[in-house]
């Protein structure tokens, strides 16, 4: 066994996570997901596949939804991260989407839920910004907000797997906050 640190393979990064600044010395191999879970004990973001294939680790980075398992933390210096723990802001009240998930029973085991929630928040912003999806009519005018009907929500949320099969309830919960 040698020392835990190898020279040149660690760097200092500063991130804001759910509004709070954190400065850490990170192993270059460390992805944002492990930084959240291991360094900050923010375990709401889940490790389902560790390869960008399930969406359970989805968080918002500077407002965009991303798979935190594929983001090397060292590349994120200066970024603003929002995780499921920060969706509700500082208050006691959960985010309206979290409330809608409870009302609709939009989860069972709960393991994909934080990713579904962060993904949905990101999705609503994308649609408002006029981002099309695979099912958007190509003839629809560019650059205008896209109305989210069920096919749109389903397509846009398809990067978040749910093995319990809560999909129909998740779509309803998202509709509740549109």
């Amino acid at each position: 066994m040698t020392s835990a640190h190898e020279p040149g393979q660690h760097s200092e990064v500063t991130l804001r996570v759910n509004g709070k600044p954190h400065t850490l010395l990170v192993d270059h191999r460390r992805v944002l997901l492990d930084l959240l879970r291991e360094d900050l004990d923010l375990t709401g973001s889940k490790k389902g596949c560790d390869h960008g294939q399930c969406g359970a680790c989805t968080v918002l980075v500077d407002g965009r939804r991303l798979n935190s398992c594929l983001l090397l933390a060292v590349t994120l210096d200066g970024s603003e991260i929002t995780t499921v723990e920060g969706l509700g802001g500082d208050g006691e009240e959960p985010h309206p989407l979290q409330r809608a998930f409870l009302d609709r029973d939009a989860f069972q085991c709960g393991y994909c839920t934080p990713g579904q929630l962060c993904s949905a928040v990101g999705m609503l912003a994308e649609a408002a910004a006029g981002h099309p999806s695979h099912v958007t009519d190509p003839a629809a005018p560019s650059g205008r907000p896209v109305a989210l009907d069920r096919p749109e929500i389903r397509e846009r949320m398809s990067g978040n797997l749910c093995r319990c099969g809560a999909y129909p309830r998740i779509v309803e919960a998202i509709e509740d906050v549109i």
Partner: protein
């Protein structure tokens, strides 16, 4: 709904009690206990399908930063011999299948552990392997037991009766290996305090984990604590302990530090079990009026060299239909493959795909409506056992489903409904799953403030166990629901059986009901009353106890690409008393979605050259996504059954997947006029079928 009145909690759509923790990220799962000094373990999978480890060179791994140890079969703690051979990890040099744990790296961080595992050099003495299932494999045999029942059931003279039948269907269906892939990978955090072991683990049954681990490490059970507060799904694969628990405990013992081991997603297909592939030959003989004269259901499947597991797919034919001549049998081939195990509705999901597809083929051969054909073969008693059914409302499910789906007036002609490039069809299938129950203990405590605490080491794997047990307790105590708290998921609580076989709520609930009923009737026995249903829950029943259901599906087949989109899916179930309308609905629809995946998207391959599954990740093993799922309806009919348990409930976690794939396959036949007899119904198969049909 919190319930401010009494006696009305059961059946109410009460909100999940742990819901708020789950939506805020506060709920902790097994790998999320950051104990002081916690380290991380990473397994080294064997890279051969059969052989012996001749050397393990750990020097490069140990030289890496942060690496604490590499456990091998020569230095890992010695275990007592397990009943389940898959747990005998690092106990010897033999490699029974590819992916078997060859060594285990432990390091300060997950990154360091992964790097160390990669740096371990294992040398093998490789032996020839056989990983290819064939129907005439010389090693195949008929198992004595399949799914707890005799491997073979037979009465009458089925072969002769089939040969003499006026209408005959003789068809073979194939289902590939399938993977559970719960969203939370199998994970354990282990900590030793002297000779006391604490395990935070992702399991469907903490009591079982404790007894198995105590035996393996030769400890008194009371020295093993198992915590499983939140479990990210299991679907059978976390029913009994898997290697993560044993390896984490070994690594923690070896290093003297707490250890977390979360199996990498790519390891799960080889180390946690899979739904075994089946080849199912169905022979149905019938009178022209539709009455069956013979039913033969013969299943060929595989198991590993580690232990015998039989995918008991032919069992459903002993329950479903009246027939004067029956054969239901299994044939299992031991191969050099990963060990198969339970996956949601083991046996039944596979068996009912084949049986209910064959029944549809028979309806077509008879020129009879497939709902009507099923009604005509309704048995008075359970065919093989001769027992009366405690309740059986499959007819009512079929009729109610047909009404809601708009089945009446359906044109039975296949391949005639076109919408541009799409072919549209509808299909139906029945469902069944046994209503099982096991003994459990539980306690109920009356608190001075007028509230009650119910304790049972149940596992809430997403079913809503905490919630429904509180509902059972509230009604038995005669108090409002919000005065009852439930504690589950910890071995300090009264021991309980696992969340499996759709029997969790019935088993735990019976004990909770008994404890609460006694506490209500005899408060002087309190403040805490403890119940044990041994001798009651496991008493022989004179009844055949099963849940039933019916699925109706509409599918559109794209003739350009062979892609199938499900338009509608309706399931109607008869499962005794439904104890929580909200969570029950979620379980039914969720299982139907897994059935949709089985029918259309999920496929794995046992690669004969290597003995494992190339579809090892979630990019190549296609779990359905949001876009695959249409509006799904699930509902139930009121069923009152007094022969089950004090709640009158049957299990509901699995029946939703049973029959879904057949309903979809039958809809695809109705759409295209082609019988596809191998799952899943992926574009390659559909397109090839459409083209060969066109050429005919």
């Amino acid at each position: 709904m919190t319930g401010t009145t009494t006696g009305t909690a059961l059946g109410a759509p009460a909100e999940r009690r742990e819901g708020r923790q789950k939506v805020t990220g506060a709920a902790r799962y097994a790998a999320e206990y950051a104990l002081p000094g916690r380290t991380h373990a990473w397994p080294v999978p064997a890279a051969v399908a059969r052989g012996r480890i001749t050397a393990v060179d750990t020097s490069a791994a140990l030289a890496l930063p942060g690496v604490l140890a590499v456990l091998t079969h020569t230095d890992a703690p010695r275990l007592a011999e397990p009943e389940d051979g898959t747990l005998a990890v690092l106990q010897g040099p033999a490699v029974p299948h590819r992916g078997w744990c060859a060594a285990l790296a432990v390091a300060e961080t997950p990154e360091q552990a992964r790097a160390a595992a990669r740096a371990v050099r294992v040398t093998y003495d490789t032996a020839p392997h056989d990983a290819e299932l064939t129907e005439d494999h010389p090693a195949g045999y008929e198992p004595e037991q399949a799914g707890g029942q005799p491997g073979r059931a037979e009465y009458g003279d089925p072969v002769a009766a089939f040969a003499g039948a006026e209408v005959r269907v003789d068809v073979t269906y194939r289902i590939p290996p399938l993977h559970n892939h719960a969203m939370e990978p199998h994970a354990t955090t282990a900590q030793w305090d002297g000779d006391r072991l604490t395990l935070y683990t992702s399991t469907q049954g903490g009591t079982t984990v404790r007894s198995v681990l105590a035996r393996l490490f030769r400890l008194p059970e009371e020295d093993v604590t198992v915590v499983a507060e939140h479990v990210g799904g299991g679907f059978g694969s976390k029913g009994t302990p898997r290697s993560d628990v044993v390896l984490a405990a070994m690594a923690a013992r070896h290093t003297g530090r707490p250890v977390t081991l979360a199996h990498p997603r790519r390891s799960l297909p080889t180390v946690v079990g899979h739904r075994a592939p089946t080849v199912q030959r169905l022979r149905l003989g019938a009178h022209p009026d539709g009455r069956l004269t013979a039913l033969l259901h013969e299943v060929t499947t595989h198991t590993s060299r580690v232990k015998e597991y039989v995918e008991h797919a032919a069992g459903v034919s002993r329950v479903m239909y009246a027939t004067p001549n029956l054969l239901s049998s299994h044939h299992v081939v031991p191969l050099d493959v990963p060990t198969p195990s339970w996956m949601r509705a083991p046996g039944h999901a596979s068996g009912m795909y084949a049986l209910e597809s064959a029944v549809d083929e028979l309806a077509h051969a008879l020129g009879m409506d497939p709902v009507e054909l099923r009604l005509r073969n309704e048995p008075e008693r359970e065919p093989v056992s001769g027992r009366p059914f405690s309740s059986r409302h499959v007819v009512e499910c079929l009729r109610e489903g047909a009404r809601r789906f708009g089945w009446a007036g359906r044109d039975p002609s296949p391949g005639v409904r076109r919408e541009g490039p799409l072919l549209i069809g509808t299909g139906v299938a029945a469902a069944t799953y046994p209503a099982m129950v096991s003994p459990s203990t539980a306690s109920a405590e009356a608190r001075p403030d007028g509230t009650f605490v119910v304790r049972v080491n149940a596992a809430d794997i997403g079913t809503g166990a905490r919630t429904v047990l509180a509902q059972i307790a509230a009604d038995a105590l005669g108090v409002p629901l919000d005065r009852v708290r439930t504690e589950v998921g910890h071995t300090d609580l009264p021991p309980a059986p696992m969340a499996a076989d759709s029997s969790g709520t019935a088993s735990w609930g019976w004990a909770v009901h008994e404890a609460c009923t006694r506490l209500a009737a005899h408060p002087e026995e309190g403040p805490t009353v403890r119940a044990d249903t041994t001798g009651k829950a496991d008493a022989d029943s004179p009844y055949a106890r099963h849940a039933f259901g019916a699925h109706f599906a509409e599918a559109a087949v794209d003739t350009v690409t062979g892609e199938i989109r499900v338009r509608r899916l309706l399931g109607i179930f008869a499962a005794g008393r439904i104890l929580n309308a909200r969570t029950a609905h979620s379980q039914f629809t969720g299982a139907m979605i897994m059935g949709l995946g089985m029918a259309l998207t999920e496929s794995s391959t046992l690669d004969p050259a290597f003995g494992d599954f190339p579809e090892a990740d979630l990019a190549s093993y296609h779990v359905p996504v949001h876009a695959d799922i249409p509006d799904i309806e699930a509902d139930w009919i009121d069923e009152h059954d007094t022969h089950l348990n004090p709640m009158g409930s049957k299990g509901i976690g699995e029946i939703g997947i049973v029959g879904t794939a057949a309903a979809l396959g039958n809809a695809v036949h109705h759409a295209t006029g082609i019988r596809f007899r191998e799952l899943p119904l992926t574009p390659d198969r559909i397109l090839a079928g459409l083209l060969s049909e066109r050429r005919r």
